[in-house]
């Protein structure tokens, strides 16, 4: 059995502050301050987010419910496993190329749009010197970002969801000790 955060109180506090700034300033990669030990099926960056935000009150859907990862998460956080993506507060996507459609996850209730899923997507990497332009709350003018390893129709699927705002999904992309958050309000600008 692997350990979790070496210092649970302060490691999760520092991770949360980065996540909050990441969500407040979308499409900008931010360095995660602590990457904990993690079973092979879960990226250490994704594990840092899960240890920071999950406990017995949350459920997670794992794209690949690897036994070692499930044991590790249950032991350290007490979270519940969801059978269906629709039921989960969090979803961990380790192979974006074969991920289920974004429409499969919980988008919230019109009166309670916060009751929607947060997706943690393990990608291959980020580039900020190229890629699409993004705008929306938290972005002063526009940010450029390319996320490597997403299915080709990912952004079309996401754009289709945006018509349902305030319902929607919030995304955390992770790679190389970095996190990029993309709340439902961030728009991909057509070139």
């Amino acid at each position: 059995m692997l350990t979790a955060f070496a210092d649970p109180v302060f490691d999760s506090q520092r991770t949360f502050r980065e996540l909050l700034q990441a969500m407040a300033r979308p499409a900008v990669p931010r360095r995660l301050p602590v990457v904990p030990p993690s079973p092979a099926a879960v990226a250490p960056e994704a594990m840092a987010i899960l240890l920071t935000l999950c406990d017995a009150a949350t459920s997670i859907w794992l794209q690949r419910p690897d036994a070692e990862a499930v044991d590790h998460l249950r032991f350290h956080t007490g979270l519940r496993l969801a059978d269906q993506p629709q039921q989960a507060d969090f979803a961990l996507i380790d192979d974006p190329a074969s991920m289920p459609a974004l429409a499969c996850f919980a988008h919230g209730d019109p009166r309670y749009p916060d009751r929607s899923a947060s997706l943690i997507v393990q990608v291959n990497g980020f580039r900020t010197d190229g890629g699409a332009h993004f705008a929306g709350p938290g972005i002063r003018d526009a940010e450029r970002l390319s996320v490597e390893g997403l299915p080709s129709d990912f952004w079309q699927q996401r754009a289709a969801l945006s018509t349902q705002f305030p319902l929607g999904l919030d995304l955390y992309f992770v790679a190389a000790q970095q996190v990029v958050a993309m709340p439902r309000t961030t728009r991909l600008l057509e070139a």
């Binding site: 520092r14 700034q21 935000l53 009150a57 305030p166």
Partner: protein, 279 residues
């Protein structure tokens, strides 16, 4: 620091619940996220919502500033600052520029905030429609449908009765063109500072068990009409201590014959200007 408590008073489960709610609040600007408000060692109405948000954010490297109506030295501000230095051992400051976290009751500092600062508002009533519609189920529906006619009618009634919009504080705003939001009872003088602020702004209402957020660089419009545009308060006076002509002024009675003076509500801004003038 008092060692009997967990860091920053709240237990880790409560902080995680608050942190999940805060992330959703930032993702849906202006929308009120319900949260499980805890009993705090001071009563509702004394900033328990702001305190819980601050406790969920606070780390050992933070520098905390707390203001009450702009002042660092009033009872509420002093108590909250002392509370966090006892239960978290964090550094505190009265200087806006030195703070990483600023908890505020009913003002936004005059000094412009930066991207690395977070402003946390204490909110008594998070629902801007509550005085017009008492049922939570109904106000939730109005927000879901973005049906804000009630608020426009209220502002119109002000114009019909007084000739202008008489609301001078807690002046309703539309965040990113979607959610009608209470800016907390800040004077409408401060509303323009909400618009495209470089700093993240978080709002906590302890008694009402709601929190919400305005992300940085987000459009925040104060409601108005084409022929009655939004206007902020103006004074014929200048601050009698620092001479400022563009800050929010408090009118203070200084003797028993009704003599009055006008002074800056933001004590740090005012004393900073006086130090500068002497130098």
């Amino acid at each position: 620091m008092t060692p009997r408590y967990n860091f920053a008073f709240l237990d880790e489960d409560t902080k995680r619940m608050l942190r999940r709610a805060l992330l959703k609040a930032v993702a849906i600007p202006g929308y009120q996220v319900p949260f499980g408000s805890r009993e705090m060692p001071l009563p509702y109405g004394w900033g328990t919502g702001g305190i819980q948000v601050t406790a969920a954010l606070l780390g050992p490297d933070d520098v905390l500033k707390v203001i009450d109506q702009g002042a660092d030295d009033t009872t509420n501000a002093v108590n909250i600052r002392r509370f966090f230095s006892r239960v978290a051992g964090v550094a505190t400051t009265e200087h806006t520029a030195d703070a990483t976290l600023i908890q505020t009751r009913h003002r936004i500092p005059e000094t412009s905030l930066r991207e690395d600062q977070i402003l946390i508002f204490q909110v008594p009533e998070p629902e801007p429609l509550r005085t017009l519609e008492p049922r939570e189920a109904e106000t939730r529906t109005l927000h879901a449908l973005a049906d804000y006619g009630l608020m426009h009618v209220t502002l119109y009634e002000d114009i019909a009765q007084y000739g202008h919009i008489a609301t001078s504080y807690d002046y309703p705003v539309l965040v990113d063109g979607r959610f009608l939001t209470s800016p907390s009872p800040i004077p409408k003088f401060d509303n323009p500072k909400l618009d495209r602020s470089p700093a993240l702004m978080l709002f906590g209402a302890g008694r009402e068990k709601r929190l919400y957020a305005i992300p940085p660089y987000t459009r925040v419009e104060s409601l108005a009409f084409d022929d009655h545009p939004f206007e902020i308060q103006r004074w014929e006076h200048q601050c009698e201590l620092c001479g400022s002509g563009d800050s929010y002024l408090d009118e203070v009675v200084v003797d028993d014959r009704g003599t009055r003076m006008f002074v800056c509500s933001d004590t740090d801004y005012c004393s900073g200007r006086r130090v500068e003038a002497q130098a």
